[in-house]
Symmetry: C2
Subunit: 221 residues, 2 copies
DNA sequence: CAACAAACATACATCCTTGTATGTTTATAA
DNA sequence: TTATAAACATACAAGGATGTATGTTTGTTG
């Protein structure tokens, strides 16, 4: 039996035991396909058969790399979340900004810029917010999914406290109250941007919305 | 064949052709059961069999009252949404408040108070936000689901404009920018309240969060 | 009082989906 | 060079879920 025809691997032929890097490539292919199928069909209607087919493999390959669908889901999420979080955090805690409020603003703008520019990032957020049901085995996944949101509150609280210390926060403003307000604002902006599909309307305005939001709490006045 | 035993209706016996009000009662029973099962299992894993069983009827009854699952979903939503929207709108547009900002604040607080007090309301929101995948036949449902959010923006824009006219809005604040900020804030608050399950922590603080949010845009200063 | 239709229950056929068990190559270590 | 196990493909069993078709009562209308 030939393992490939014209250089293209085909199914229906057993050709296995690839090198480790080949296996890694297959794994990544499965994760990418899972993202596409999750986004197109929703998580629950995404069968492992569809995902395997889109990846050009069989369910056997999927079951080899992942225990079940929820583990695949987690991999899809990590693949995108980890680098994004690292990026926004590095801005938020950058020493380049004299005013902590500038760091918050830049970090938020970068987040929504990536969300707007990078389709795979947007796909993952749409999957997690609009195309996944958090029950049963996914109930535990939800906690992981929400952890960044919880952490985000703690982070901007620290920044707002710092801003208060440096006197750039409007006088009379409680930094913790300000942090919670920004927290809700950011979450809402994310959800509305995904849910309402405001095309160019909101997309271009998000930056100015963020500027306006931050301007309200800049001091000392 | 007896239609009931000891006053309790039983299955396995055909007893049908009830009066119209009896039929309405079973319909409502099905909607209530659907809400419970949707909330427990998620929409996609909620089979019509489970829903029928919980309602004490068979799938035949469900198919008689509703075309399919998505129509049932819509009924569950309307059952709760309509009265809630009417309630918050009546506060928002009430003549009792001299300051439009007070009306906005009261309306928001009432919304979150109901969300906190009324478990069925909370269940419906949790179903729609955390336990439903908006794809395929539910993609069209999503538009209906998001319409209140869109409408809400238009409503508070009007109120903020009114506040600007009456001079209760902080000078220099664009009413439309303020409206969008409050819009995102509200959406985020709703999502975070449901997602992060902040128990007593956030629940009691929501009211103060709203007050703090509105205080930032009260003028004239 | 007879016919009709509302309001369901039952039964049937079909199609997926998942999990696991079992092949089958081939890189790699001994 | 041979044995082992990685990296898959194939096959099998079983359990649902949906939609529809068809029964079966009984309130209601003429």
């Amino acid at each position: 039996m030939r393992a490939d025809i014209g250089g293209f691997p085909v199914q229906g032929v057993v050709l296995v035991r690839k090198t480790r890097e080949e296996a890694e490539k297959t794994r990544k292919q499965i994760v990418d396909s899972a993202r596409a199928v999750f986004h197109r069909c929703g998580v629950s209607r995404s069968t492992l058969e569809k995902i395997a087919q889109e990846a050009g493999v069989t369910r056997g390959a999927v079951y080899w790399h992942f225990k079940d669908k929820s583990e695949l889901f987690f991999a899809v999420r990590e693949d995108i979340f980890a680098p994004l979080l690292e990026r926004t955090d590095s801005i938020l805690f950058s020493e380049a900004y004299a005013d902590p409020l500038d760091a918050i603003q830049a970090s938020l703008q970068e987040f929504f810029r990536v969300l707007d520019d990078c389709s795979v990032v947007r796909e993952v957020f749409e999957i997690m917010i609009l195309r996944c049901e958090y029950v049963q085995e996914f109930a535990s996944v939800q906690e992981e999914v929400n952890r960044p949101a919880i952490d985000f509150l703690a982070k901007i609280e620290r920044m707002y406290v710092r801003a208060a210390e440096r006197g750039t926060l409007r006088t009379g403003l409680d930094p913790f109250a300000a942090a919670r307000d920004t927290w809700a604002f950011t979450s809402g902006l994310l959800h509305l941007a995904l849910e309402c599909r405001l095309e160019e309307n909101l997309a271009t305005d998000v930056a100015t919305l963020i500027v306006a939001h931050m301007a309200l709490r800049r001091g000392p006045l």
